[in-house]
Subunit: 192 residues, 2 copies
């Protein structure tokens, strides 16, 4: 990836984060990337291609790799906290805003599969973790898919609501939220 193309992608993704795909014009992108507008079309077939190329870069996909899920201690509390912390550290309000900006109907058909990958990766990792914990005899038999959805939704909901309303909805801090939520889940899980 040459430097100019990268500048174009970065500018486009940042603008989409701020204004959404439809409201982001190629003129905007050129301005932000500090290049001429026609250069965009020498590097890419069109506006859409910029975005789709950008979405393939790890940089613009939340740096979610399987490695995240490997440092488990097989102790419910630290592991669940680690899962949530990993998620909230990567799927920041900025990243959520970008994902929303990529939901425009003109491109959502193409972007949705990529966007879907992130929650799917976390959810499946959680389910797998619960199943292994069960094998180790450290967890009762439960509906793990449902349980994982609850844990994941609470993480997703928190970061999304922060992205949408900052502190206007709640002033609860991330770390406080993680500790409290996990402690709530723990007792709910263990007691069964």
């Amino acid at each position: 990836m040459d430097e100019t193309s990268q500048k174009i992608i970065d500018a486009a993704m940042e603008l989409i984060k701020e204004k959404g795909y439809v409201a982001t014009t190629t003129k905007d992108i050129a301005g932000r990337a500090d290049i001429n507008e026609c250069t965009i079309f020498r590097k890419f077939k069109g506006k859409k291609e910029i975005v789709l190329t950008g979405m393939e870069q790890e940089k613009w996909r939340g740096n979610v790799s399987p490695a995240i899920f490997q440092n488990v201690t097989w102790e419910l509390q630290p592991d669940l906290e680690m899962f949530m912390r990993n998620y909230l550290d990567r799927i920041t309000p900025d990243f959520v805003k970008l994902s929303i900006g990529l939901r425009a109907p003109q491109i959502y058909e193409d972007t949705r599969p990529q966007i879907l990958k992130i929650p799917k990766a976390f959810l499946e990792a959680l389910i797998l973790y619960f199943e292994k914990m069960r094998e180790k005899g450290k967890m009762p038999l439960l509906d793990y898919e449902c349980l994982a959805m609850t844990v994941f939704s609470s993480a997703f909901g928190f970061t999304f609501l922060k992205a949408s309303f900052n502190d206007q909805l709640t002033t609860v801090r991330q770390e406080e939220y993680i500790k409290n939520s996990v402690s709530l889940f723990l007792k709910g899980i263990e007691q069964e």
Copy 2:
């Protein structure tokens, strides 16, 4: 509100749900409402005013009224299930899609306060409920804001993820999700 204006509003809101604010054109709206495009501008100052008028109608605000929160039994399990069911029945995937469509930067300044009202109403009702339960001696002293955020985020996250990915992320059904989540929260809360 005369019939024609209402048809325009309904058409606009439906289209925004499907395509978002920016991609919804006045031509689209006229077509869907089955009226002439220029009639729109006889009834409203501009595209923006249609939306802002629509958002003031209960119909397009999720029918969230304080009455929802009044049928409480002061028993944690049925009450929490009722809260979640009320939320998920009103804030459907369709409604979530509309909210996202209203996040366009051209109008978000104006729509955000209205959008914010809904989660705020639920969250505050939950916190108040916990405090009253505490007064009745039916709940331990906890960080209620944090607890309410966890419960609310899990409801919000579920409906949002359904709106975004249908059953591609999870096939868990609403009622199953409510029962399981509440049972998890219950044990987490009561045990303290």
